[in-house]
């Protein structure tokens, strides 16, 4: 027993000795202490509850803790509150001290006078649940019946609290303060969560809508500049496929700068059925069926589609101090828009990618979903076995699939189910947010299966351009739709590599190449970053910009440039076949074909309007704006610059063949005469294309109220692109089956060329421009006309508006190599109409005058080895005799037709005139401000029924 007691006592002693030692070992060293939120003013004879003072302790390991004096057992040297004046108290803990200086003021003797008015001054009216109300320090303003007044705290005035507010739960409540005979009631709101006590100095309303208001309006006295949209005040659009996010932010100014907080708001919803109608405010019940409002997001229902909506979005003042706002109008915004059915609201590039319904296989990498090809099997979320249909590509979300802030479901589930992508912000394209399959990689250099061969072809096509060869890896893979072995759908396959974020190959699979699977149509080399069969683009005056040429992405060093044709015709022709958008034709139902529209958007490419031919290879490497295979597409109120070519309008034949999935028939050109595609530019402005604004492979273009200026080559190349080029006289081709343009007189078309520009040099067209000048100047002078314009430097240039040709390769090759006759024929036409639809100029590649004249020319045996231009302006035709007429002076009677007058020419090296002034005047009367030159680029005997090329330019009076 004694032994047990002894052991017990020893243990006790050890504990009393050791434990403090242990705790002192664990005890941290105090670096500093401070009193939190100290009161610095007291009334004489007040008392300070030192135990409840909150102290913040900072330790040498930089950790902190907040405890009361009592909890810390800190020592306090107390202040003397018995005298008026300055005083202080000191708190000591852990060897550190903190002194608080205070002021002791006289205690007012509470007045017993009758109170006339009693008001609270700047009283806080918002409290968080369970927040303490400091009643003693609420400031009151009082006027007495004797006319005197005072402003001081509740305590100082001797007022008392009659009713305490209940802050235990959210809602409206109040407190009452009594001073002598007067009771003051103050209403307050108790809210869940924190209350921003600092003053909001400004509201940053969502920039995209402010941008829209700024861009969509132009003062009536302000002239339209190139940066301005042509159409102003087009309605803002919002889709109902996903949420519309409108998140105002409040700005609070702090000592170290400004802070932004997302504000709580509430909305009043008003609706009208048409743009002209009056808004009607919806009741709460009606609103609930129209839109779901949740934390600054608005999800519209199907019933909202087509309606014009006005949201009055107000800042919820219960949460914030808005005393800095003098005007109520600063506390709310009116946001007006029209709801687009199945419109998908886009806030960034990833959201925009949802329009890529024809590139599901590759974009599945970005959307993080599984993809199943035709006839493959998969198990759905309910465990059911599903077989993918023919011509179907199925996206199946998984746990990590992407879902954006505005979306109710996975992003991949919106693909194929939207009508329009609607921008609510401007986007600068990031190559890292595009499928890796779009780009050449180091893998391709290793001769890896089929793509290895393709890389080699590309590399070799850039022989002589080592800088471009170095730039292939990381650039867009041109022509990757095609495979080197292209003998049918089954064997024509592309291999797709799956690459993880470490840029390591993790798998592969193949898919039928060269086909838009769901359209069952074979594609050529053209590619789009965003490729769709049905989705429109609505910009809301926002912009999409390609990063500057040479600007590499952050992570993978990719560029949005493409350096080589897949099948190089010549090393000087490395035309990029990548466009920002690609539209392909699909059928809606029956005979109704999908129509497309791109509108109210600014677009910037990465080609410079450049003329340094030494860098021409790089300037051709940038993006096009749109590659169009659609039958009907409109560009409305689009403002674009700096693309390689703005639009490639690709039309081969009857579009119903596409909808039937018969690509062979489509590409054969069958039916083209009757079913040409139409591309409409309406109130659209294009500037600074490196090549052309529109390249028409057949197709019709309608240009209305638009401005197209400064392209490096002709504004329009209109190619009658039958590569077989077997146009013979008995096939009865019409110009309507070829490429054609109809333009109104409001549109401005300018592409001034001297012929020295790099585009002309690359495509060996320089000599044509200079030759035209030397041949045409004398004849036009004789009618007081010229087609030259001078700039400020007095340089002469010709406005090359359009060139009507067969396939450009065939011009340069000198004809169809497979045809013994080397026939070159061109269909097409350029028509200019006034506001009433009256035709001002109608230039057709086949017309009776041309046909008759050329036949007649041949009868004379003229050796027309050089240009023999026939010119037309309005209804005036003329012929310029070639300089090498060796049969003597032509007999005027042989050449004069009812429509035709010979102007002048060179015979035996001498100028002559074979016409009279009456004919000159008649020519001038019928001429307009446009001129078309029909001229041959080869021996005239090779194509006796039509000229080869039509060139359209301006015609000016000589000043």
């Amino acid at each position: 027993m004694k032994k047990h007691i002894a052991i017990f006592i020893a243990l006790i002693v050890m504990a009393t000795v050791l434990l403090p030692s242990l705790s002192s070992c664990q005890k941290k060293t105090v670096e500093s202490i401070e009193v939190m939120n100290p009161v610095i003013e007291y009334l004489i004879d007040d008392t300070i509850d030192y135990d409840k003072l909150m102290i913040k302790v900072t330790y040498t390991d930089k950790t902190t803790e907040e405890k009361t004096v009592k909890q810390l057992k800190a020592k306090v040297e107390k202040a003397d509150l018995s005298k008026v004046g300055n005083a202080s108290y000191t708190v000591t803990y852990g060897g550190k001290s903190c002194t608080v200086n205070i002021r002791v003021t006289e205690r007012k003797t509470p007045s017993l006078k009758e109170v006339n008015t009693l008001e609270a001054v700047d009283a806080k009216v918002r409290y968080a649940v369970n927040e303490t109300i400091d009643y003693d320090n609420i400031v009151l303003s009082v006027t007495y019946s004797d006319g005197t007044s005072d402003t001081d705290t509740v305590r100082a005035l001797g007022a008392t609290v009659k009713t305490y507010a209940d802050v235990s739960k959210a809602g409206k409540t109040y407190y009452e303060i009594v001073l002598n005979n007067k009771t003051l009631r103050v209403d307050i709101t108790v809210v869940e969560g924190s209350v921003e006590s600092a003053s909001i100095i400004a509201v940053a309303w969502p920039r995209f809508y402010e941008d829209y208001l700024n861009a969509s309006v132009r003062a009536s006295d302000s002239p339209e500049g190139e940066a301005d949209f042509r159409l102003t005040e087009q309605p803002y659009e919002v889709g109902n496929a996903n949420k519309f996010l409108y998140r105002p932010q409040g700005t609070v100014i702090q000592a170290d700068g400004r802070k932004h907080i997302e504000l709580q708001t509430y909305a009043e919803v008003a609706v009208k059925d048409t743009s002209e109608g009056e808004y009607r405010v919806l009741s709460d019940e009606e609103s609930a069926n129209f839109v779901t409002v949740d934390h600054n997001s608005y999800k519209f229902t199907e019933s909202a589609a087509g309606k014009y909506v006005r949201l009055k979005i107000s800042i919820d003042e219960t949460y914030y101090d808005l005393s800095a706002f003098e005007s109520e109008s600063d506390k709310y915004r009116m946001v007006e828009f029209v709801v687009i059915d199945k419109g998908y609201n886009v806030y960034d590039q990833i959201g925009l990618s949802v329009m890529s319904d024809l590139e599901k296989q590759v974009y599945s990498e970005i959307w993080k979903c599984d993809v199943y090809l035709p006839n493959e099997e998969y198990v759905d979320a309910e465990g059911k076995q599903i077989v993918v249909g023919d011509n179907e590509v199925k996206l199946v979300p998984r746990e990590d699939s992407l879902r954006l802030a505005a979306d109710d479901k996975y992003l991949c589930e919106y693909v194929d189910n939207i009508s329009t992508v609607i921008l609510h912000d401007s986007i600068i394209l990031d190559a890292d947010l595009m499928p890796s399959q779009f780009f050449w990689t180091e893998f391709d250099k290793d001769d890896w299966k089929l793509t290895g061969d393709r890389y080699q072809e590309t590399f070799e096509s850039l022989a002589g351009f080592p800088e471009a060869q170095k730039a292939i890896v990381g650039s867009l893979r041109d022509g990757y739709n095609n495979v080197s072995d292209n003998d049918g759908a089954e064997s024509a396959r592309s291999y797709m590599r799956l690459i993880d974020t470490n840029y390591t190959q993790v798998g592969e699979y193949s898919y039928p190449s060269g086909y838009a699977i769901e359209l069952n149509i074979h594609l050529n080399m053209q590619k789009g970053i965003f490729s769709t069969k049905k989705v429109d683009v609505s910009g809301n005056y926002n912009s999409i910009t390609a990063p500057e040429r040479g600007q590499r992405s952050d992570e993978y060093g990719r560029v949005l440039e493409s350096y080589a044709d897949y099948e190089p015709a010549m090393t000087e022709d490395p035309v990029s076949h990548w466009a920002l958008f690609q539209m392909l034709q699909s059928r809606i139902e029956g005979d109704e074909m999908q129509k497309f529209e791109i509108k109210n958007i600014a677009l910037k490419g990465n080609n410079s309007y450049f003329n340094d031919s030494s860098e021409s290879y790089f300037h051709q490497a940038g993006l096009m704006l749109c590659n169009n295979y659609a039958k009907d597409i409109s560009f409305t109120n689009v403002n674009a610059d700096s693309f390689y070519t703005n639009i490639s309008g690709d039309n081969y034949g009857d579009y119903s063949y596409i909808a039937e999935g018969d690509s062979e028939k489509f590409h054969s050109g069958e039916g083209a005469e009757t079913d040409n595609a139409t591309l409409t530019l309406s109130s659209t402005k294009f500037y600074d294309a490196y090549s052309n604004m529109i390249f028409l492979w057949r197709s019709h273009a309608v240009i209305e109220n638009s401005e197209l200026k400064r392209s490096g080559g002709p504004l329009f190349i209109m190619s009658d692109a039958d590569h077989a080029c077997n146009h013979v006289a008995d096939k009865n081709f019409t110009d309507e089956g070829g490429p054609s343009i109809t333009v109104d007189t409001k549109s401005k078309l300018e592409s001034f060329a001297t012929g020295n520009e790099s585009w002309y040099k690359i495509f060996q067209a320089s000599s044509i421009v200079s030759s035209l000048g030397s041949i045409m100047t004398p004849p036009l002078l004789s009618v007081g006309k010229t087609f030259y314009k001078k700039n400020e430097q007095k340089t002469d240039a010709i406005n090359v508006i359009a060139v009507m040709i067969c396939a450009p390769d065939l011009i340069l090759d000198g004809g169809n190599p497979d045809s013994a006759d080397k026939l070159l024929d061109v269909r097409g036409g350029f028509t200019q109409v006034d506001d009433e639809g009256k035709i001002i100029n109608d230039f057709k590649m086949h017309n009776k005058t041309l046909t008759d004249f050329r036949t007649m020319v041949l009868k004379t045996g003229m050796n027309a080895t050089s240009f023999a231009p026939i010119i037309q302006s309005g209804n005036s035709f003329s012929f310029v005799t070639p300089p090498d007429m060796s049969e003597g002076a032509p007999n005027e009677k042989d050449y004069v037709l009812s429509e035709l007058t010979v102007l002048s020419g060179l015979v035996g090296g001498k100028m002559f005139k074979t016409f009279d002034n009456a004919k000159l005047d008649a020519w001038k009367q019928g001429a307009t401000d446009k001129l078309c030159l029909y001229l041959s680029v080869g021996p005239i005997t090779q194509a006796p029924w039509a000229p080869y090329v039509g060139i359209i330019t301006d015609l000016y009076d000589i000043q």
Partner: protein, 151 residues
């Protein structure tokens, strides 16, 4: 004419053809277009009614952009000086817009010299835009205006 003179003329004639053929002629675009890449604010001044010289305000910068701060008094006018890069941009004119003006009670208006004339005490969001392209650079600035301290 002496033979030597003819020879010299021929040498110059053919020599120039060769030289031009090798080096080419510099092709200057008929209409040169160098786009604005950046708009930079260089200084901001404010004046009030009855004060002739401007007070320079500090341009603050954070991840959300640039801003200045001042207090409101009658006649508050702000002038923002800007610089366009590159210096040889073809179109150097900028457009100044007020983004958060309320039509029913405007905060400020723009004077003839591009000065911003405040009509009441409220903060303002202004924008300078390049006028050479719809996608040209923009400079957004906030002018935070607080009430004057009570005297």
């Amino acid at each position: 004419m002496k033979k030597s003179t003819v020879l010299i003329l021929l040498v110059i004639f053919f020599g120039s053809i060769i030289i031009v053929g090798i080096f080419g002629m510099q092709a200057v675009p008929f209409e040169q277009r160098i786009y604005v890449r950046e708009i930079v604010p260089t200084s901001v001044y404010c004046t009030y009614k009855g004060i002739d010289s401007g007070i320079e305000l500090e341009i603050k910068d954070d991840e959300q952009g640039k801003y200045v701060m001042t207090t409101y008094e009658e006649g508050l006018t702000i002038l923002i000086m800007t610089q366009v890069e590159p210096e040889n941009s073809t179109v150097r004119t900028l457009k100044l817009s007020i983004l958060n003006n309320t039509p029913e009670n405007p905060i400020a208006e723009i004077g003839e010299r591009g000065e911003i004339i405040f009509l009441r005490c409220a903060s303002l969001h202004v924008r300078y835009s390049a006028t050479d392209s719809a996608t040209g650079p923009k400079l957004d600035m906030w002018i935070y205006v607080s009430k004057p301290k009570e005297k």
